[in-house]
C-alpha cells in the first residue's frame, strides 16, 4: 500500500534564493531536504493559479532548486516571485535515470546530452556521474538560451544558429565521439525530435540509452491517463524510459496529448506548449 506522506499534497516552501541562469531562465532555491533521484520530477503549485511539473536542477543534503524558463503565464508569474515568497511542492514522482552495472564505481564510458530546458533534468544526473567523467553535450537554439554552460569544466556547446559553440546539434558529432570513447550508456533530456535521433543512434550501435520524456500532466500519480505514451504513464512509469521500453512506444518522437486528451503531432503539441 502507498503510505500517505506529507509530500502527497503540496507543501508550501519559501524561496531562499533566486538567480538568473540565462536570458529568460531563472533558478529558485529552497532550503529544504528532498529525497530525489535524478530524472524524477516535482509538481510546483502556485495557489489559485495552476500546477506544473519540473525537474530538480540543484540538489544537496539541505537544499534543492529548480530552473525555469519563462514561457507561458505560469512561468511568467514564477519569474515575478522574490526570495521569501512561497510555492507549493509535491513529489518527487516517477522513475528517474538508472545506473547499470557497466558504469558502476566510475567504470564505463558515459555521455549526457541536454537540449534547451532539458538541461535542467540532467544536471543532478551529471553530478552523480562525476566518477565517470561523462561527455557533456548541451544544445540550445541560440547563445542567450544556453544555461549551465559554466557549471561544468568539460562541456561542448551547440547552438542552432551558431551564435555560440558549434553550429548545429549534439547529434552531429555523436558518431565521432562514440568512436573515440565507446559509450556504455547515453542519457538525454531535451526536445523529443533530438532524443529520438539519439535513440536511433544508440539502437544502431547497441548502446544503452535512457531518455526523459515530457508530456502534459495532470495527476502526477499514475491514475488519470493524461500523460499516456503508448500504454505507459509518463508520470508514473517514466518520465525516464530506457531503450527497450522506448522501442515499444510508437508515439515516442511522434505524438503527444493536448490538455483535452487529443492526440496530435509533436510539432502541434510544441506549438501549444510554447504559448
Amino acid at each position: 500500500m502507498n503510505e500517505f506522506s506529507a509530500f502527497d499534497q503540496p507543501v508550501m516552501l519559501k524561496i531562499d534564493k533566486i538567480f538568473d541562469e540565462s536570458n529568460g531562465t531563472k533558478s529558485f532555491m529552497f532550503r529544504h531536504k528532498i529525497d530525489y533521484n535524478p530524472g524524477q520530477f516535482i509538481m510546483v503549485w502556485l495557489p489559485g493559479i495552476d500546477e506544473k511539473p519540473f525537474a530538480v536542477s540543484y540538489l544537496s543534503d539541505d537544499f534543492f532548486g529548480i530552473t525555469v524558463l519563462e514561457r507561458g503565464n505560469f512561468t511568467k508569474l514564477l519569474h515575478k516571485m522574490v526570495p521569501g515568497d512561497q510555492m507549493g511542492i509535491r513529489g518527487p514522482f516517477g522513475h528517474g535515470y538508472s545506473f547499470p552495472d557497466s558504469i558502476k564505481n566510475g567504470k564505463g564510458s558515459v555521455c549526457v546530452i541536454g537540449g534547451g530546458c532539458g538541461m535542467a533534468s540532467v544536471t543532478v544526473l551529471i553530478e552523480k556521474l562525476q566518477d565517470n567523467s561523462p561527455t557533456i553535450l548541451m544544445g540550445a537554439s541560440t547563445s542567450t538560451s544556453l544555461f549551465f554552460k559554466n557549471r561544468y569544466k568539460d562541456i561542448t556547446l551547440f547552438t542552432d544558429d551558431g551564435s555560440e559553440g558549434i553550429k548545429g546539434y549534439p547529434t552531429d558529432i555523436l558518431e565521432e565521439l562514440h568512436d573515440k570513447h565507446g559509450y556504455d550508456i547515453i542519457y538525454t533530456c531535451g526536445p523529443e525530435i533530438m532524443m529520438s535521433k539519439v535513440f536511433d543512434f544508440c539502437k544502431k550501435h547497441s548502446i544503452q540509452f535512457e531518455a526523459s520524456l515530457e508530456r502534459y500532466m495532470k495527476c502526477g500519480i499514475g491514475v488519470c491517463g493524461q500523460c499516456v505514451c503508448d500504454g505507459q504513464m509518463v508520470c508514473k512509469d517514466g518520465p525516464v524510459f530506457d531503450l527497450q521500453a522506448l522501442s515499444n512506444m510508437s508515439d515516442f518522437g511522434k505524438y503527444s496529448l493536448l490538455k483535452s486528451g487529443k492526440r496530435v503531432s509533436l510539432q502541434e503539441y510544441a506549438d501549444w506548449r510554447s504559448c
Binding site: 500517505f4 508550501m12 495532470k218 499514475g222 493524461q226 499516456v228
Partner: protein, 306 residues
C-alpha cells in the same frame, strides 16, 4: 478445495472477472485499455466523452488525502469525433469496453451515441452524477428521477447497446432514482460516482488545493457510503449493479457483491496498490471464496440481504 470461478455475465457481456475500470481512470487511449487488460481487469470504461472537446479544469485536478482522493478534472476529453478515432478497432483490446457518455440535454447524449455508433463498444454508461462540472451531472440537475428518465429514454431509442446509469451517492432516495433509470430502459446501475464535492485547504497557502476549489471524494472515505447505496439499490431494482467506491482488496470486492453488486469498479485502488490492483483483487477473491466454499460470483450477489 476447488478454484473459485470469477466469470460473470453482465447484461449479456461476458467478463472473465467482475472488476471494471471506472470512467476517468486511465481510459484516455486504446493503449492504456490494453495495459489495464494485461493487468487483469474484467472490463474497462473509457474517459467520459462529450460532443465537443473540453480542456477541463486547471491543475491541481487530483489530490490524494488520508482517506482516498479528491478530484475535479472537469471532463477533459477530445470530443466525440476524436474519441471515435482513438477507440476504433476495439476488437484489438481483449476485454469488453464501455463508452462513458456525457452531455447537458438529452439530445447532447444522443449526438455522442451516434458518433460512436461505428465503434465496437460493449455498453454505454451515462454518468448523470458528476458533482463538480458545470453543465453536467448534478450541476445540470441530472440527478432527479425525471431528468434521469428523460436522458435514459432518449439514449435507449438511439442505441441497442446495454445502458449503465451511474448514480451519485449524494441522492438520499437512491433506490427511487435507480428505479426511474430502470423504468426508462437502463440495463444496469453503476453505483456510485464520487461523493460531495469535498474540499482540501492548504493552511499555509490559505487556499483550497484543487484549482476548482471543490472535487469529488473517492477511495476509502467513500466505501461505506457506496456499499450502503448498492444495498439500497439492490432492494429497489432487478437490473444488475456495478458497485464502485473505495474497493482496493478482494475482501472489499466481496463485501460489495454481498451488498448486491454483480461487478465492481476499481479506480482509486490503482493509486493504493498500482495498476496490478485488478489481478491482486481477483487472487484475493479466489482465495477467500475457496476458503469459504463459494464456487461462483452468482452465489454471493446480494446475500447480505438474506
Amino acid at each position: 478445495m476447488t478454484t473459485a470461478n470469477l466469470n460473470i455475465d453482465l447484461c449479456g457481456i461476458k467478463m472473465s472477472n467482475p472488476t471494471v475500470l471506472p470512467s476517468g481512470f486511465l481510459g484516455t487511449s486504446k493503449s492504456l485499455l490494453e495495459r489495464v487488460a494485461e493487468s487483469g481487469v474484467g472490463a474497462a470504461t473509457i474517459k467520459s466523452v462529450s460532443f465537443e472537446a473540453r480542456e477541463g479544469h486547471k491543475n491541481p485536478t487530483v489530490i490524494p488525502f488520508e482517506g482516498g482522493m479528491l478530484n475535479a478534472v472537469g471532463y477533459s476529453n477530445p470530443g466525440a469525433e476524436e474519441t471515435a478515432r482513438e477507440f476504433s478497432n476495439l476488437n484489438e483490446v481483449s476485454i469488453p469496453v464501455i463508452a462513458s457518455i456525457i452531455g447537458t440535454e438529452p439530445d447532447d447524449f444522443v449526438r455522442v451515441v451516434d458518433k460512436l455508433s461505428g465503434n465496437e463498444f460493449s455498453a454505454i454508461e451515462l454518468p448523470l452524477s458528476c458533482p463538480h462540472t458545470p453543465g453536467f451531472g448534478l450541476l445540470a440537475g441530472q440527478g432527479t428521477p425525471e431528468s434521469t428518465g428523460e436522458i435514459v429514454s432518449a439514449v435507449r431509442k438511439a442505441s441497442k447497446l446495454p445502458i449503465f446509469v451511474k448514480l451519485s451517492p449524494n441522492i438520499p432516495e437512491i433506490g427511487n432514482l435507480a428505479k426511474a433509470a430502470e423504468n426508462a430502459g437502463a440495463d444496469a446501475i453503476t453505483a456510485v460516482n464520487t461523493l460531495g464535492p469535498g474540499m482540501i485547504i492548504n493552511i499555509e497557502a490559505r487556499k483550497p488545493v484543487l484549482s476548482y476549489k471543490v472535487g469529488g471524494v473517492s477511495g476509502q472515505a467513500l466505501r461505506p457510503v457506496a456499499t450502503r447505496c448498492v444495498y439500497d439499490i439492490y432492494e429497489s431494482v432487478k437490473i444488475p449493479i456495478i458497485g464502485t467506491g473505495g474497493i482496493s482488496t478482494g475482501r472489499h470486492a466481496i463485501e460489495m457483491i454481498m451488498a448486491g453488486a454483480t461487478a465492481i469498479g476499481v479506480g482509486t485502488g490503482i493509486y493504493d496498490r498500482g495498476i496490478d490492483v485488478f489481478r491482486k483483487i481477483c487472487l484475493e477473491m479466489e482465495e477467500w471464496m475457496s476458503e469459504n466454499s463459494y464456487n461462483s460470483i452468482d452465489e454471493m450477489i446480494g446475500i447480505a440481504h438474506e
